[in-house]
Each structure stands twice: as C-alpha cells, then as structure tokens.
C-alpha cells in the first residue's frame, strides 16, 4: 500500500502559538509595501488575497497566524475568512515547510509510467510520507496531482519547477543534491531551483529575473513540429482574405502542402439571435452532461 504519511484532518487549520508572534516592524513595513503593489493589480482588493498568501509563505515559509491576521487587516476581511481561503488550496502550507517541496506526480499516467516507484524509493530513503518534512528542514515530500507535463512522464516537481522523465535514481540524486546545498537545475525552468520562500515570492507576482533562463520547449513538446519539418508538412497558406503578411501572428507561411481535413466554406452566422442562450446551442447538443467542460457556458 502507498505510504501517505501521517494523515491529518485536512479542513482543520492549526496555527502554532509561535506563528502568532508579531512581525518585526521592518518586515511588516516591507510586507505592506508589497501588498500595496499586489492590491493595485486588481479592481477589487479582495482579489489580492491569493497572491498575498503566497507572499506570507515567502516571508514565513508557511501560512502563519500572524500572516493571516495581517492579510485580514489589509484586506478588511475577518481572520476566519482568510483561513477559510488558505485551507482550500493545497499550495498553502499549514506547518513550516522545508526549503524544497519535492512533489512526485502520482496521478494515473505518471504513476503507471514509474511515478509510484519513484515515490516509494524517495519516501523510503527520506523516511517521510506525504506532506512531511525531513528533520534537517530541507525537504518536504508530496504526492502531487497531474502537473500538465504528461508527455514527459514520470514527472517530479521541485518547488514547482519541472523535472521531466525521471527515474528513481535521478530523483534520489536531485533530492540528495538539494539536501547537500548544491545547485540543482530543472529540465525546463530556470538555471537553478529557488528556495520555497523565493519561489513563493514569484508566485505572489514578483519577477526574480530568471524568466529568460532555460529552454522554450522540452524535447517532447517539439515532437510534432520536428516531424512536420522532416516531412515538409505545414498549415495551409494564409492568402486571399488576409491583407497582412502571410506570416502574420506567428503562424508560418505555409506552402499549402497539407491536406488537412475537408474544405468547408464559412457559415454566415448572424449576430446572436435574441433567443440564443448560453448552453442551448444546437451544435453543442452532442455534449453529454458528463463533460470536463460544461453544462452550458
């Protein structure tokens, strides 16, 4: 059976007494200045709450009682309202997090491709389970859900940077290197994995100067493009109806070599008829109720 670690009641937010100690005045002043910038991004200030909770984690390493109190004060919410939000989202930590969150994808596809094996190996080596932290405070281990990199399975995330095509050995090495304080380079990401606090600051919307590092696309992302180039396949040429350059909008100037699908002229749909209602369009009627999409739009 999978080692899920110590399972705690997940809806219950326990904040340790010491996490309520007030901030040092200069820390609080900086937080307020950052929070002002965040709030300025939105028409209504409550929208700033999620980034501000990331900001709390960038200062405290988890969502502390004092962080909740400060968010509540700045956004004119109750502490209960802020806690209610903080407990809903898995990236907000309820107890001190390690410097690095190592998340092994154990959703079906990665699990089958080797994620389960990676999880077992790393969990056993570190002697910790899900959402537990090594005694040296370096690594918090997590089982994570699908991280939108299935073509690179098995995938492991370290502080939410991609480590693609992992093996038990490569992940163990990565974890050992992180614990030893070495720089660790993601497969698609910046030159090195930042700490949990540094990463949390980026998630609060503050760029750290590393956006231009790393690749644009990993090898799997390029498989289709590579094949198309080998075989000379392109999208149909943009012509006739367009008076901009055929290369407009980043689309390639196709030679019309492809024969994609059948040709169809556009339908001359009038503006929405008065009776048209969201979700009642006939062309959508093949949708069963069970759709990851919609019951109407």
């Amino acid at each position: 059976m999978e080692n899920y670690g110590e399972q705690t009641a997940s809806g219950y937010f326990r904040v340790a007494q010491e996490s309520k100690e007030p901030y040092a005045p200069e820390v609080e002043a900086q937080f307020q200045a950052d929070a002002e910038q965040i709030i300025a991004r939105y028409p209504q200030k409550r929208s700033a709450l999620l980034p501000m909770l990331h900001l709390v984690q960038s200062v405290d390493g988890y969502v502390t009682g004092r962080g909740i109190a400060l968010c509540a004060e700045l956004l004119e919410l109750t502490e209960a309202e802020v806690s209610g939000v903080a407990t809903f989202y898995t990236q907000y930590k309820r107890h001190p997090n390690g410097d690095y969150t190592v998340g092994v994808c154990t959703n079906t596809l990665c699990a089958v491709m080797g994620g389960d094996k990676i999880w077992d190996t790393v969990s056993e080596r570190l002697g910790i389970g899900h959402d537990e932290t090594t005694e040296d405070g370096k690594i918090t281990l997590e089982r994570v859900e699908c991280n939108a990199a299935c073509d690179f399975a098995p995938v492991v995330m370290a502080n939410w940077e991609f480590f693609d095509n992992q093996t038990p050995e490569s992940t163990l090495q990565m974890v050992e290197d992180l614990r030893a304080g070495k720089d660790v380079r993601p497969t698609r990401g910046p030159d090195k994995v930042a700490t949990f606090k540094e990463t949390s600051r980026v998630l609060a919307g503050f760029l750290d100067g590393h956006a231009d590092e790393g690749v644009g696309a990993g090898p799997a992302s390029l498989e289709g493009l590579k094949l198309a180039k080998e075989r000379g396949w392109t999208a149909p040429a943009m012509g006739g109806t367009s008076d901009v350059q055929p290369e407009g909008s980043g689309a390639p100037a196709g030679a019309g070599a492809g024969q994609p699908g059948e040709e169809h002229s556009s339908t001359d749909t009038p503006a929405n008829a008065p009776g048209e209602k969201p979700g009642t369009d006939a062309s959508d009627s093949t949708q069963q109720p069970a759709t990851p999409g919609e019951k109407g739009n």
């Binding site: 939000v85 231009d212 024969q259």
Partner: protein
Amino acid sequence: MTTLTPILSATWDDPRSWTLETYERAGGYAALKKALGMSKEDLVQLTKDSGLRGRGGAGFPTGMKWGFLPPPDGGPRYLVVNADESEPGTCKDIPLMMANPQVLIEGVAITSFAIGCDHAFIYLRGEVVHVYRRLLRAVEEAYAAGHLGKDIHGSGFNLDVTVHAGAGAYICGEETALLDSLEGRRGQPRLKPPFPAVAGLYARPTVVNNVESIASVPSIVSGGADWFGGMGTEKSKGYGIFSLSGHVTRPGQYEAPLGITLRELLDMAGGIRNGHELKFWTPGGSSTPLFTQEHLDVPLDFESVGAAGSMLGTRALQIFDETTCVVRAVDRWTDFYKHESCGKCTPCREGTWWLKQIMGRLEHGQGTEEDLDKLLDICDNVLGRAFCALGDGATSPITSSIKYFRDEYVAHLTQGGCPFDRDAATVFATNQKVNA
C-alpha cells in the same frame, strides 16, 4: 491522409521562442494591428464565421460566447483566460505558454478589443512557476512595445493585463469556481444562470476562455475564417494541439486539424512502445470515458467522439498498453476526484469518497462482485446530479472501464489481488529492455 499543421507551435524550437523579438520576427502582432482597424462587431462575426469552438473541453462556439455579452452599459467588462490546466492528461496550454506566451497575449489584446474590455486576467495554476515567470515577462515586454497599456498603437484602445497565480485546486478550472477564486475566495462553482457573460467577475459581464482558444484568435484574424475553416471537419473546424502521453514511442504535442484519428497520430508518434499493444486510452482527459482499440479510427472531432460514447475534451490522449491494470488506473483517477471535489454538493463530495473506498478495495483484491453494481449505482446517483461537471467526470472512468473490462475487475476478486506486474508498465522497463 491527415498531416500536421504547426501554427501555435511553429516557433517553439527557436532558441529563444518565448521572447517578443522571436514572436515579432515571425510576424507576431500584425494581427493585433489589423484587428484594431476593424470594428468590434466584425471581429466577433469573424470569430463566429471561423467556427472556432472552445479548446478548454466543452467546445462551445467562441464567437457566440462573445456575442452573449449584453450591450455596453458604461461599466467594466472582463476577459478572463482559463490557464488552470489541471485535467489529468491535459498538457497543451502549459508548454504553449512556456514556449510562446506572446501569442496568448496578442490573442488577449484582440479579444479584449472585440468585446470592449480594458482589463483582462490570465488565471494560471500556481504549480508551474516558470510559466508564471514567462507570462509576467511577456506582459512586461508587450507593455514596453506598446501592445498593451494606454492608446495601443494609436487606436485609443486601452488594455491592462493581470497574470494571476492560483494555489493548487483542480476545481478552479471550472469557470465559475475560477471567478470566485480570482475574487479571493474558496474556488467553488457558482449556480448558473446567471452565466459569466451576464454576471461574471465582480458580477460584471465576463468572457472566460481557454488559453488555446484565445491563442487561436490571432491566426484567425490573419488568415481569415475560410482559412481556419479549411482545416478540420464541418462542425469541428480548425486545428488543435493533440497531446500524446503514456506508452507511445514518441509522446509529445502534435498540432493537427480536428478530425485526425488516433491511428494517424500513433503512426506519427512511432506507435505504441516497442513490443506492446494498445489497451485503453482517454480521448480528452480522465473525465472523458475510456476508449479501446476499437476506437482507433474515430475522427477526433467533437461530434464523432461524442457519437462513439466519449468526449473530445482537451485532446489529452493518455495511452496505456496491455501491461497496465485498468482497475489500478481508474482507482488512482478516483483518488484524484475525491481529493479535488470541492465539497459544495453532496452527490460529489460523498460519492467520490465512497467510489474511492470501493475502487481501492477492488484493486487490492478485497472487494466483492456486488461492489461492481454498487459502483455503477453510485455513479448513477452522481452523474447529472452533481452541481458541476467535476462530479460527472468522476464517473466516466469507472463506468467506461466496467463496460469494457468487467472481466479484469473480476480477476482481481478471483485472484485476491491485482494480477499485474507494476514494474512491467513503467518506462524504466522499456529502457532496460532496450539497453539489454
């Protein structure tokens, strides 16, 4: 034969594909300039004529969605881009935004202009920090070049774009939960109607569209409706990114006209991994009913996949060969739905919990044959009764796997455990074979 049509992915192999410079060199932002010279009505009409349907799963006609906004009343209206991409198997928007964030920003600018929005939002899932960096940087670059901000290219059109990071919750991909989350609340779905077009973000008229939908807009403006509609099928027009993952020789992103088949895609991807054969697959993520070998020639468009008993969804083709235990696969997906159920409605909150209990004991050989009927009975009570489509989606893998692989469930009971060797299914098993 259908061939690939790289459009959104055409520049991904450029060494600095994500920069504005690369994007403009390939003709980027010509579509915005063209659009700014058109009327809003013509842009909406063009999008309708193109036949573009939402790429986020449901396939709702995009132009029509824009057309649902009530007439301007002087107050704000919003565009919110759904970049939450969390449906298991779905992995197209994230590489798109990492490699070419500018095409999304250009699409956001054109769409905002068309619907009369001066503040757009991109809601990105929080678990992809490098993609967040790329988007923030892309917005910075676009402002500096005058593609965003005040009086864009002298048109008098103003637009601000805020890129917002979520914090880990699949349900925030559901558009109304996303809006609640963006308002700083727990991400739980809202009752519809009112639809977002009428009362969305801050109760104002709002368009919510998927990343790929919005990123397709510049190409439609440049190429025209006929160009776009020249790809795809009669009712599922245009191109889309097909994501192949799992037991295939070359998993990856394949941009092709809608209506391509898995057989064709597999052929391009080098087939099922060496020495193995296809067992089951998802056409559009874990929430879409499983397909098997018999569906290899189903055209991957909205109508054909629907007629064959599943849904096109997000074109997330997760491929599993005969080494994979379907019960184990479904058990793990069920764990996911249980974990991600937001708890708002009883059928899903309680149903997914029970489904997981039963799936778990079946996989470990501790169930009974009545459990299969119990599973179907619970699914019947969730499907169509849950508040949002997450609950419905949770039933898809279960009901479809029982339909096609009932014997395999039974084998777990008769053998008192899972009959499969987990190691054989891993990618390391393949590598060892190749190395040996």
